[in-house]
């Protein structure tokens, strides 16, 4: 049975006990999926699943009252967000049903855009797209193009260690049991640059920011939202001004609040309408957390995130030894 049909069957089975199941459906064009909210069996026809199912739907879990019973379809990376939310007691285990599947990866539409531009085609005019095996075939303005899938996977998929959901109540399809390595080479390469160059890089990137907070609101772990100190007036931590300093300050706050909590789903960067590579900031913190505490967020529902814990002596930090 095709995996999508298996998923529909699994959702149909659990739907009677749930208020809503969140999955992906067709979006406004051939290259977009969009979240769909399933409340009846008739809605199951709207479901889609595949490399365009990019959004991390776990971000919606904290937008409902904790008493609502919610089903959510997750990729491996998204399942880590669910685990992290459970670890922080931001959702009730008994009120969430997790539908997992073996995720082959998702397409980075920025990469599609650049690859198409290289062929004189525009992503915004694509009328048809199919993803089969190693190739993606696209039609734009009556012109057909073909791109190797290897060039289109999101970076997070190329370094993915969790293709299969790390936690699920219903798992459909065969587990991939595939694991890539991630040595944080991108972070190390950036760190190797001189400080002035790094500063200049972020100043240029942040100058483009429109402070829309899509990065914050797409993040499943950014749960303060309406109380975010980037916008509060009492206290007035960040000016309402839209200078590079304020924008960078906000990103620093955002990154700091995600330290040891970020599961690197990459939604912050994907959501950015002006292409600011802000996942790099989160990965820098995660690299530090991994080195200091030997900890990755969102793997074990029973584990305590290191920055939410207090120990007189950390196992890997020798406080009194020097």
């Amino acid at each position: 049975m095709p995996i999508l049909d298996e998923l529909k069957a699994a959702i149909a089975k659990r739907l009677p006990e749930l208020d809503v199941v969140i999955g992906w459906g067709k979006g406004f064009d051939a290259l977009h999926h969009t979240p769909v909210f399933i409340t009846s069996e008739a809605d199951l026809d709207k479901l889609e699943l595949g490399p365009l199912s990019v959004q991390n739907l776990a971000t919606y879990l904290t937008r409902y009252p904790k008493t609502k019973k919610i089903g959510v379809v997750v990729k491996g990376c998204d399942s880590r967000s669910v685990v992290q939310l459970l670890q922080e007691k931001l959702i009730n285990r008994e009120n969430v049903v997790v539908f997992g599947f073996p995720c082959e990866g998702v397409v980075d539409l920025e990469k599609v855009k650049r690859a198409l531009e290289g062929q004189g085609m525009e992503i915004a005019r694509v009328s048809e797209a199919t993803f089969q095996g190693e190739r993606c075939t696209l039609t734009t303005g009556g012109k057909a193009g073909s791109l190797p899938m290897a060039d289109l996977w999101a970076d997070k998929c190329n370094r993915c260690q969790y293709h299969d959901a790390v936690m699920s109540d219903e798992f459909v399809g065969q587990r991939l049991d595939r694991k890539a390595e991630d040595a944080y080479a991108d972070v190390a390469a950036f760190e190797a640059k001189p400080l002035a160059e790094r500063q200049a890089f972020w100043q240029e990137q942040m100058s483009r920011c429109i402070r829309c907070y899509a990065c914050r609101n797409a993040c499943p772990l950014c749960v303060c939202r309406d109380q975010c100190i980037a916008q509060t007036r009492e206290p007035n931590w960040v000016s309402q001004r839209t200078g590079v300093e304020e924008k960078f300050m906000f990103q620093m706050i955002h990154a700091s609040h995600l330290a040891g909590r970020c599961t690197e789903c990459g939604e912050c960067e994907r959501a950015c309408p002006v292409g600011i590579p802000i996942l790099l900031l989160k990965r820098k913190n995660n690299k530090e957390v991994l080195e200091l505490f030997d900890y990755r967020a969102g793997i074990d529902p029973e584990a305590k995130p290191p920055l939410l814990a207090f120990k007189v002596e950390e196992e890997k930090i020798n406080e009194r030894g020097w």
């Binding site: 406004f28 429109i210 829309c212 907070y213 001004r241 839209t242 309408p273």
Partner: protein, 355 residues
């Protein structure tokens, strides 16, 4: 059309250089995959093949604008007495916005009806508007999110522009569409347009209009949206996927809401005006703590209602949406305003609102 010239592709930088004499010229440029408006200078390569990701809204309506500077000073003879000194600051540099699309320029006609009227004139906006000219590029191929033809516009609409460029063989036909635009055509880089170029441009414009997806009439939405004002089930459904960021409004060429804050440090400070967004919890949050728009459903209702109902109602017709489609294309979760408007028109109303 007042007069027509021809600009060869090879003469583009010469004309931009001439326009930039004594003026700020903003052109769409690529920055890490995004296309945004930036000042033109030597070595800057404009991207004219596609719509910019951010509209040129900042040119006339900056995301942060200083309205005034203020300072307090104590009277040395009587320290309880404090004097306040206020200096109004209007910053309206001569500007040409080059290479935007008709939707980008038309967006400001929506602002004009609000900020520059007989009754109320916002000097900050009005002076910037008066000092900014738009050299607009007619679209020759619509994007999947384009719907300008459904909101009373078109890919060759010159409304709000001063000069309209239409792609022709080897370059562009350059037409002044306002009195102010005429002056920009007086440049050595521009040659008199041969009749063939004029014919090609006419054909290109007709082809651009024909290439658009079929128009659907958004005008009846005004009454339907009012009818659905209290149908919160409808608004809960259509806003379910919204994550309440402000990308749609900040990227919108017609969204003009602002907030005003005093940013004070010690005895001095400034009063600034910054973009506001109806997607934010703080939008219309009252000092009492009450918010008439308490959830994202109410806020999305405001965005759609404002553009397609309240504004056309107040201004007797025009829709406050230029159909550029950025709010759809760049929404992280693909909320589609076209779909919401169409559903409002098609679905029966469960709880009718007050007329």
């Amino acid at each position: 059309m007042m007069s027509a010239k021809y600009l060869a592709q090879g003469d583009l930088s010469a004309w931009l250089g001439a326009l930039a004499q004594g003026r700020r010229v903003l052109v769409p440029v690529r920055e890490n995959g995004a296309v945004v408006f930036r000042p033109y200078g030597p070595g800057v390569a404009p991207v004219l093949s596609r719509q910019a990701d951010s509209p040129p809204k900042e040119s006339v309506f900056p995301s942060t604008e200083r309205l005034m500077e203020f300072s307090y000073s104590k009277d040395p003879e009587n320290l309880g007495k404090v004097a306040l000194d206020i200096k109004e600051t209007v910053n309206a540099p001569a500007t040409v916005v080059f290479g935007g699309r008709p939707c980008d320029a038309r967006g400001f006609t929506v602002f004009d009806r609000v900020y520059d009227t007989k009754a109320i004139r916002d000097p900050y906006y009005a002076e910037r508007r008066a000092s900014t000219l738009f050299v607009t590029l007619a679209c020759d191929a619509p994007e999947t999110t384009c719907f300008c033809n459904s909101v009373g516009s078109s890919p060759v609409d010159a409304d709000g522009s001063d000069v309209l460029l239409t792609p022709v063989e080897g370059g562009w036909l350059v037409e002044a569409v306002s009195e102010r635009g005429k002056a920009l055509l007086d440049a050595p880089a521009l040659k008199d347009a041969p009749a063939s170029a004029q014919e090609q441009a006419k054909a290109a414009q007709e082809a651009a209009v024909a290439a658009m997806p079929p128009a659907w009439d958004a005008a009846p939405a005004a009454a339907k949206l009012i009818e659905k004002f209290d149908d919160m089930g409808f608004w809960d459904n259509v806003s379910a996927k919204c994550i309440s960021c402000g990308a749609c409004t900040y990227l919108c060429p017609t969204c003009y809401c602002f907030t005003v804050t005093d940013e004070r440090s010690g005895m001095k400070g400034e009063r600034i005006r910054t973009w506001d967004t109806c997607m934010s919890f703080q939008f219309t949050l009252e000092a009492s703590g009450h918010n008439p728009r308490p959830t994202k459903a109410y806020r999305l209702k405001n965005r759609v209602g404002h553009k397609f109902s309240y504004y056309p109602d107040i201004h007797k017709g025009p829709i406050a949406c230029c159909g550029c489609g950025r709010c759809i294309k760049l929404c992280p979760v693909s909320v589609d305003i076209r779909e919401i408007v169409r559903l409002a028109m098609e679905l029966p109303t469960a709880t009718a609102g007050k007329p």
